[in-house]
Amino acid sequence: MIDPRSSVIEKRLAGVKRIVAVTGWKGGIGKSSIASVLALLLAHKGHRAALLDLDFTGASDHIILGINDAHYTEETGLNPPLAHGITFMSMSFFSQGRAVPLRGSDVSQAALELLAVTQWGEQDFLVVDMPPGIGDASLDMVRWIKRAELLAVTTPAVLSVETLKRSLALFERLNVPLLGIIENLSTAAHSPFVSHAKFLGSIQRDPSLEAATGHPEQILRTRFAEELGKVAAVFD
């Protein structure tokens, strides 16, 4: 039995100019916030921006962006809806607000299915929000989305720095290009990555982000979005 799906992935992504995988391999460092707001900012600047939430068991981009009513349509594949200017795909469209208990092998299968049937169309950027850890989704990304560039997130906390160090070493050996490193939830004591050749900038803890959750217009007015916007200048 031959699984035909991987043969068509490259074609599905052919209209996408750049693919940016937001990672950092640790949980709770702001990967989803940065991925979602980055897509929002890129769309606002007039780029064609798409967002894929690949954290299937912990999907959150739809909550951050307040995407409740948008729905994919079925045509020659699944057409992701355009929500707040972003072409968006997430497992949340299929799970009706319930928990998604998937083993890693199921995560792989579901990712393969979405990559095979999602018609992204023409995009300047596809931002991919990665789950924590180096598990099936991370390894599949290297295998199937060969053009992905890493946008690595860290915080000044020892635990985040240690995770990033060991993971970057691995992904460098795997020849996955590193686009840059962002420090989030910055404090006076910076992480050692601020002196890394690929360091892009810092984002402070912004207490106003929480209340803006679910409200894109409000998010765009936060200091978080302002600071991320400066970092995102790397895409101009």
Binding site: I2, D3, P4, L78, M91, S95, P101, A116
Partner: protein
């Protein structure tokens, strides 16, 4: 008809396989359509056939045959084996499973112990079961 996208994958994959096996012409493609995804087998076969007419010469004259694959599940918690019939899912849930069969873990439960931690042993979705042709 998001099935069109899967049909396109079938064509691409069949061409790849035929070339690997150094065929000069493909005579038959046998598809296995897993029950879990609720894809209409006739409809899917005709989608594949339609795309074949525009495909490269290698594939253009291939017959398309369809075999339906029954779905089977095995619970990892209690080892119970069960079938689709044992699961009750609504229309809306069935649609989610149609697009992403792994959503079965969200909407189905092991009929013996209630766990969502089962494996889809067979009958998940679309596979190429066999390709025959001439060298």
């Amino acid at each position: 008809m998001h099935e069109w996208a899967l049909a396109e994958a079938v064509i691409a994959s069949a061409a790849e396989t035929a070339r690997q096996q150094k065929m000069s012409v493909v005579e038959e493609i046998v598809l296995n359509i897993g029950e879990l995804q609720s894809i209409d087998a006739e409809m899917f076969a005709s989608l594949v056939k339609n795309q074949l007419t525009q495909a490269e010469p290698l594939l253009q004259d291939a017959e398309v045959r369809v075999v339906r694959g029954e779905a089977a599940f095995e619970c990892q918690a209690c080892k119970k084996e069960f079938s689709e019939q044992d699961a009750k899912v609504s229309e809306e849930e069935r649609e989610a499973i149609h697009f992403v069969p792994e959503m079965a873990h969200v909407y189905m439960r092991c009929p013996a112990c209630g766990s969502p931690d089962f494996s889809i042993v067979r009958g998940r979705g679309v596979f190429i079961q066999e390709i025959t042709g001439q060298p």
